[in-house]
Amino acid sequence: MRKFLRGSAAGLACLGVEKDDQQYEIELIERIANGDQAAFAALYDRLSPILYSMALRMMNDASEAEDVLQDGFVYIWQRANTFDGSRGSPISWAITIVRHKAIDRLRVRLRGERLRERASDSPELASDKDDQSALEPFLRERRAQVKSALTQLPGEQREALQLAFFSGLTHQQIAAKIATPLGTVKARIRRGLLQLRQLLQSGR
């Protein structure tokens, strides 16, 4: 019995992944679930630059970002059988896993450091120098689309979305951080996400 459900065409489009690329990633995950280390290495080569960049931005510490990536890929190795294509693409599955691992560590850090603030964008760690060579070709175009879409969002929606994604803060904490009512923050995130979805689809 097949353990994996295939993603729909609309779902594929939303992350800008060509069907062949998506199919290839699904096959890699299936092979990983069967203990295939070559497939694991291939998925790592394919996705680690994106995931590490995200972890760096969230943790603002190279060593902790490596730990997050380790946690995430070990989880992917152990739990590849839980991937369900009807719930999201392989890349969004991997992003979600690594993001959750980063949030776990951020919350530990926040407890330990009593909410010591760190800059979300370290020039050293998150420079705008664009290493496109580190990305698979199919993701290069997608990255440009995401950047373009984000610039089209109203600033307050973009800020709310970025805080929600990268900071590990809950909506309540975001509301406190930017001194804005919770309902307003939730509405900004919802509208921003809806608009982002629309922009990414129209960019295809």
């Binding site: 679930a33 203990g35 059988n81 369900d84 809806l194």
Partner: protein
């Protein structure tokens, strides 16, 4: 057409903001409502795409071999059926639900749902085994929630410690110089009792859990014999 209320619920679901009971209810809706499922999937993929905003960065070339070592140490990937050992799950479901904050936990179906959406993935479950012959029949299961920095231990067939001594739980965190105390086990909980614990210091990585015999009231660092260990 998905109205604004459901759009907000879907958004909260994607961002992990829904309380567990509401998330489970929403997932039931997803199972039967194709339009909502597709909408939610697109939101999820759109949200994940934020990770692409910054330039990609290749990690240290040696990182993958470290990941592979850790992955291999944990054995082959889990099969669908053997994702968790049933006996361990039976012992841990209620504990996991409790420390995950699932006040309305009802049973295996909910756990299966939670497992699908990776709620339980945040929990670490460790089986502690005896290190010395005198405790061969003793065991313990630890459920650790890193995000909440809280855990529960269920002990099985642990004899009463000799007078003037207590059992003390430790968390081995590779980022710390010494094991971190997670507290002393009350004597009345030694046989099939469940004890909630909270470490003395924040834990970054709970690599192992250990139970030792210490002087009554516990020690700052382990000094007595380690009797159970597991990861």
């Amino acid at each position: 057409m998905i109205d604004e209320t459901r759009q907000q619920i879907a958004t909260d679901y994607v961002l992990g903001e829904l309380p567990p009971a509401e998330a489970i209810a929403f997932e039931k809706e997803l199972a039967t409502d194709e339009e909502l499922r597709e909408f939610t999937r697109e939101l999820k993929d759109g949200f994940a795409s934020l990770a692409l905003e910054k330039p990609p960065v290749r990690p240290d070339p040696g990182l993958f071999s470290r990941i592979l070592r850790r992955a291999n140490a944990g054995g082959r990937p889990r099969s669908k059926i053997l994702s968790f050992l049933p006996w361990a799950l039976a012992a841990c479901f209620a504990l996991a639900a409790l420390i995950a904050g699932l006040d309305d936990f009802h049973g295996k179906q909910e756990v299966a749902e939670l497992n699908r959406r990776d709620v339980i993935a945040h929990l670490q479950i460790a089986s502690l085994r005896a290190q010395i012959d005198a405790y061969t029949n003793s065991s313990a299961i630890v459920v650790w929630n890193a995000a909440r920095q809280r855990g529960l231990i269920r002990l099985q067939d642990l004899p009463r410690a000799e007078a003037g001594h207590d059992y003390q739980l430790w968390i081995i965190d590779p980022t710390k110089k010494a094991p971190v105390s997670a507290g002393v086990v009350p004597p009345e909980k030694l046989n099939a009792g469940e004890v909630e614990f909270q470490p003395a210091h924040p834990i970054t990585t709970a690599a192992k859990f250990a139970l030792s015999i210490e002087k009554a009231g516990g020690s700052m660092e382990p000094q007595g014999q380690i009797i159970l260990v597991g990861d």
